[in-house]
């Protein structure tokens, strides 16, 4: 069982463990990105009436797609573009979740700003927030488009290309009831007797990933807050040095220009922290990925539970048949009592019962087989996606950390620069 997902999955990851993007993305998915360039070009604020006829303001995002045909390079298609709301992205993602339960579906950027530090606006309409969400949505589309399975989905393709009727098309797939039952199933609790160790571990991991990333984001926001404070308070030196310089003769010039450097120092933190938000966004994506991972595990648990229930049903049916055949009632039961009271069943009755049981057992066997196949297939698919995800995650986070370190380096260099300038002014006093 443990290695049932093996061959394909291993192929995916070990094909190229050093993983350049192109190599990780399987052939068919690359073909979608090869056929099409996708971007979320801009965001726009709109006001309109909603379902209950109330005015609401919302943001729409312009999705631009451009067909690129590698076979005929001269044919340059003009870009297609259409507007989508965030809620439509949500619909798309829900559809994907339900349709591909074994896939770790890429998360959407946050709906509301979370883990913000005080200076950052938590307003949904804040231009910086909208801009970061635009980047996040584009990232989402690119992740789906590069996914070996999701990228081939018709609904996804139409989401990118069909302005009208897309919602209806999604509804027609009848995913909504499935989505509802899925939600119910995911919320229910059940105990699986023989959990798959790998999925238990995966579930454990996703719990940890979720808690550690959310903690990291929380602390980072506080760190950003404090750092902001430290820099901005230095700005006060700018003012007081310049005021002080007014009453000094020899020291005046040095103080005045040192004051300017302090102003510059205080101002520099805005860009630094703005840039750091990108790092936070990268972490957030993986915080949300943890939720997707969990969903895959839950789904597996559900299947496993169904499989085990089917097996149990079959067992009890088989036991009944045995009892019926041997004519012994091993345990005290109501049935036993009635037969004692009202006399034994006729052979005909027994025959009929036997037949029904046989049929049920037959069905049970089939169901069990079906569930087993379903479960095995799920495990195989899910594990293969999991392997793909791991490679992607390791690469992304490594890159995120590199860019974070680079940011820190540039911050240090800026700091050294400003203080060196200030020092020069001081030493001239």
């Amino acid at each position: 069982m443990a290695d049932s997902g093996g061959p394909e999955a291993a192929q995916l990851s070990s094909n190229d463990p050093k993983g350049e993007l192109g190599d990780v993305i399987p052939e068919e998915a690359r073909s979608l990105l090869r056929k099409m360039e996708i971007s979320v070009a801009e965001a726009e604020k709109r006001t309109g009436k909603n379902a209950v006829n109330m005015l609401e303001t919302y943001t729409v995002y312009l999705i631009e797609t451009r067909r690129v045909d590698s076979s005929a390079e001269n044919q340059n298609f003009s870009p297609d573009s259409l507007w989508r709301r965030y809620s439509e992205f949500e619909l798309l993602r829900n559809y994907l979740l339900v349709t591909y339960p074994f896939v770790i579906v890429p998360p959407l950027p946050e709906k509301r700003a979370e883990f913000v530090w005080h200076k950052l606006s938590a307003d949904n309409m804040d231009p910086d927030f909208v801009e970061r969400r635009r980047i996040g949505l584009e990232n989402f589309l690119l992740r789906v488009a590069s996914h070996p399975i999701l990228s081939n989905d018709k609904i996804f393709y139409d989401f990118l290309t069909e302005e009208n009727g897309w919602k209806e098309e999604v509804m027609e797939t009848g995913f909504q009831p499935k989505a509802d039952s899925r939600l119910k199933a995911l919320n229910a609790t059940f105990r699986v007797k023989n959990p798959d160790k790998r999925f238990t571990e995966l579930k454990h991991y996703s719990d940890e990933l979720q808690s550690v990333t959310s903690q990291l984001l929380r602390v980072r926001a506080r760190v950003a807050d404090r750092l902001y404070g430290v820099y901005k308070v230095h700005g006060n030196y700018g003012r007081v040095f310049s005021e002080w310089s007014a009453i000094e003769r020899e020291m005046g010039d040095g103080l005045q220009s040192a004051g300017h450097h302090m102003d510059a120092y205080a101002a520099s933190i805005d860009d630094i922290l703005e840039e750091e938000e990108n790092y936070a966004d990268q972490l957030k994506e993986y915080l949300f990925y943890a939720e997707a991972l969990k969903a895959v595990c839950r789904k597996h648990e559900l299947l496993q539970y169904e499989l085990e229930t089917a097996a149990q049903d079959l067992m009890s049916k088989k036991q009944q048949r045995e009892e019926l055949a041997s004519g012994t009632v091993r345990t005290f039961s109501l049935k036993g009592m009635t037969s004692k009271l009202f006399g034994q069943e006729t052979p005909e009755q027994r025959e009929a019962k036997m037949r029904v049981l046989e049929e049920q057992i037959q069905e049970g066997e089939e169901l069990l087989q079906e569930k087993k196949t379903e479960c095995d297939e799920y495990v195989r698919n899910a594990w293969s996606d999991m392997e793909r995800f791991t490679v992607q995650k390791d690469r992304d986070l490594r890159e995120a950390m590199i860019s974070y370190a680079v940011m820190q380096i540039s911050m240090c260099k800026k700091g050294i620069q400003v203080w060196t300038n200030a020092k020069e002014c001081f030493s001239k006093m």
């Binding site: 463990p17 050093k18 990291l216 602390v219 308070v233 030196y237 950390m401 050294i416 060196t420 001081f426």
Partner: protein, 484 residues
């Protein structure tokens, strides 16, 4: 630089050229001398018995007496030609009068001391334009526990080439009380001079831990600064009490001594501080007062900003300390990302220790200096006030004379004495003001470049940490995924 003695020999009329020559000369003592000449109340007063007044009032420092002596030696003969003999005699008389009855040990300044002073004045000047021949330092604090009290003593080491000292080197232990005594004595005996501040007393027990290492070290630095400032002062450093403080084995016997002539002089100034009110400060001193007010205000703001920064930085530090372990606990549940995450964690923790150093340095070295300056300004303001009172007394007396004017012409001697006192005070104050401004400039230059340096060092440490993990982050994952 040397005082161009030749110019001096031309006589009193060429006094002016001597002044300008001396002004160019960076030797502080000669500048001071030149200032006395330039302000010329003393010289112009040579024409009458005002010299005696000036002599009585001024030379309560050994240093000045030496200067007077030298002035006298160098000027008297050429001057006599252009001065009335009686006035000159009075001058000589006043000089001799003063040097003898005072009875200060070194004050029995034989003519020899003047020549040694001359030599000293010709010492090569220091970089900061001062001649240093007296070096003091305060170090090695020690705690003393007795049944009565617990206190700290500091080692005071003196090295000098001055002949007023019997030995070229002294090393004694003094406690805060002794410094306090010295300062009071200086204030009493040199009422016209700016006496550097001592660190605050903190009498309230329990508010500050007076025996903590940081407190003692901060105080030691401030005491060291105090003594150095006195030692570098051309007048204060010749004060006999300072000499006693640096050399006496048993300071207590001196502490118990009654009023000396010097303290009487101080008393007389204190007496002056009675009810007179000054109508208007001369512009020059008003400007000083205004300057001090604004400067105090700005220092207060800087102090608040610095404290706020330290507070923000310590809060930042608290968060950073929490930030680093999150990375390492994440590293615990990752395979391939383990090393990079651990790397980031260690970077954050080295940044936080660099930050800790920065805040410690700033609160130990930056804030105390600011606070000392606030006290220094207070001392300066006190001197300004005293000056105002002396002037107020003079003005009041003059007014009284003017009212009685019809009766007798001419200004009574005591009013003139008052005027001389004002002039002397002004001259001392201006000289001290210039010194103070100069010191302040140097101190703040040092303080602020120090601050910049510490910040640069902090960023350099962080930079080194982050740069060092880049290769670790970029390291391609090993073929581990295949074996998994």
């Amino acid at each position: 630089m040397k005082i161009p003695v030749d110019t001096v020999m031309y006589g009193f009329d060429e006094c002016h050229s001597f002044v300008s020559a001396a002004n160019q000369c960076t030797c502080a003592s000669s500048v001071l001398l030149a200032k006395y000449v330039a302000n010329s109340p003393y010289f112009s007063m040579c024409f009458d018995d005002a010299w005696i007044t000036a002599g009585q009032f001024l030379p309560h420092s050994l240093g000045f007496r030496c200067l007077l002596h030298r002035t006298f030696q160098q000027y008297s003969f050429p001057l006599t030609t252009s001065l009335q003999a009686p006035a000159c005699m009075a001058f000589i008389h006043s000089y001799q009068d003063l040097s003898l009855p005072n009875g200060t040990p070194a004050g029995t300044s034989s003519p020899g001391s003047s020549s040694s002073l001359l030599n000293r004045l010709q010492l090569d000047d220091d970089l900061d334009g001062e001649t240093h021949d007296l070096f003091v330092s305060v170090d090695d604090p020690k705690k003393h526990v007795s049944t009565m009290e617990t206190y700290i003593t500091y080692r005071v080491t003196t090295k000098t080439s001055r002949t007023e000292f019997d030995l070229p080197e002294y090393s004694l232990r003094r406690r805060y009380q002794d410094f306090d005594w010295l300062r009071n004595k200086l204030e009493e005996s040199q009422p016209t001079h700016l006496i550097p501040p001592l660190p605050e007393k903190f009498v309230m027990k329990g508010v500050v831990d007076r025996f903590s290492e940081e407190f003692v070290e901060t105080r030691r630095k401030a005491l060291d600064k105090f003594l150095k400032r006195v030692a570098d002062h051309p007048v204060l450093s010749f004060n006999e009490n300072f000499n006693v403080f640096l050399t006496a084995k048993d300071l207590n016997s001196y502490k118990k001594q009654g009023l000396t002539l010097l303290t009487k002089m101080g008393e007389s100034v204190k007496y002056v501080t009675g009810g007179y009110k000054l109508r208007a400060r001369p512009l020059e001193f008003a400007a000083m007062g205004d300057y001090l007010d604004i400067f105090t205000q700005k220092l207060g703001t800087i102090d608040r900003i610095a404290q706020r920064i330290i507070k923000e930085e310590s809060e930042y530090l608290v968060e950073l300390r929490e930030y680093s372990p999150v990375y390492s606990s994440w590293a615990g549940c990752e395979g391939e990302l383990q090393k990079p995450l651990e790397g980031v964690s260690s970077c954050v923790s080295s940044s936080s220790s660099a930050l800790e150093e920065l805040t410690e340095d700033m609160s130990e070295d930056f804030l105390p200096v600011l606070r000392e300056y606030v006290l220094y300004i207070e001392s300066m303001k006190n001197v300004l006030k005293k000056r105002d009172q002396v002037q107020a007394e003079y003005e009041a007396k003059l007014e009284a004379v003017v009212l009685r004017k019809d009766e007798k012409s001419g200004v009574p001697a005591d009013v003139e004495k008052c005027q001389d006192r004002v002039e002397c005070f002004n001259a001392d104050l201006k000289a001290d003001w210039d010194r103070w401004q100069n010191n302040k400039r140097q101190d703040f230059r040092q303080l602020l470049t120090g601050m910049a340096d510490r910040n640069i060092q902090y960023y350099e440490k962080c930079l080194a940490a982050w740069e060092s993990i880049i290769p670790l982050l970029q390291e391609k994952p090993d073929i581990k995924s295949e074996t998994d």
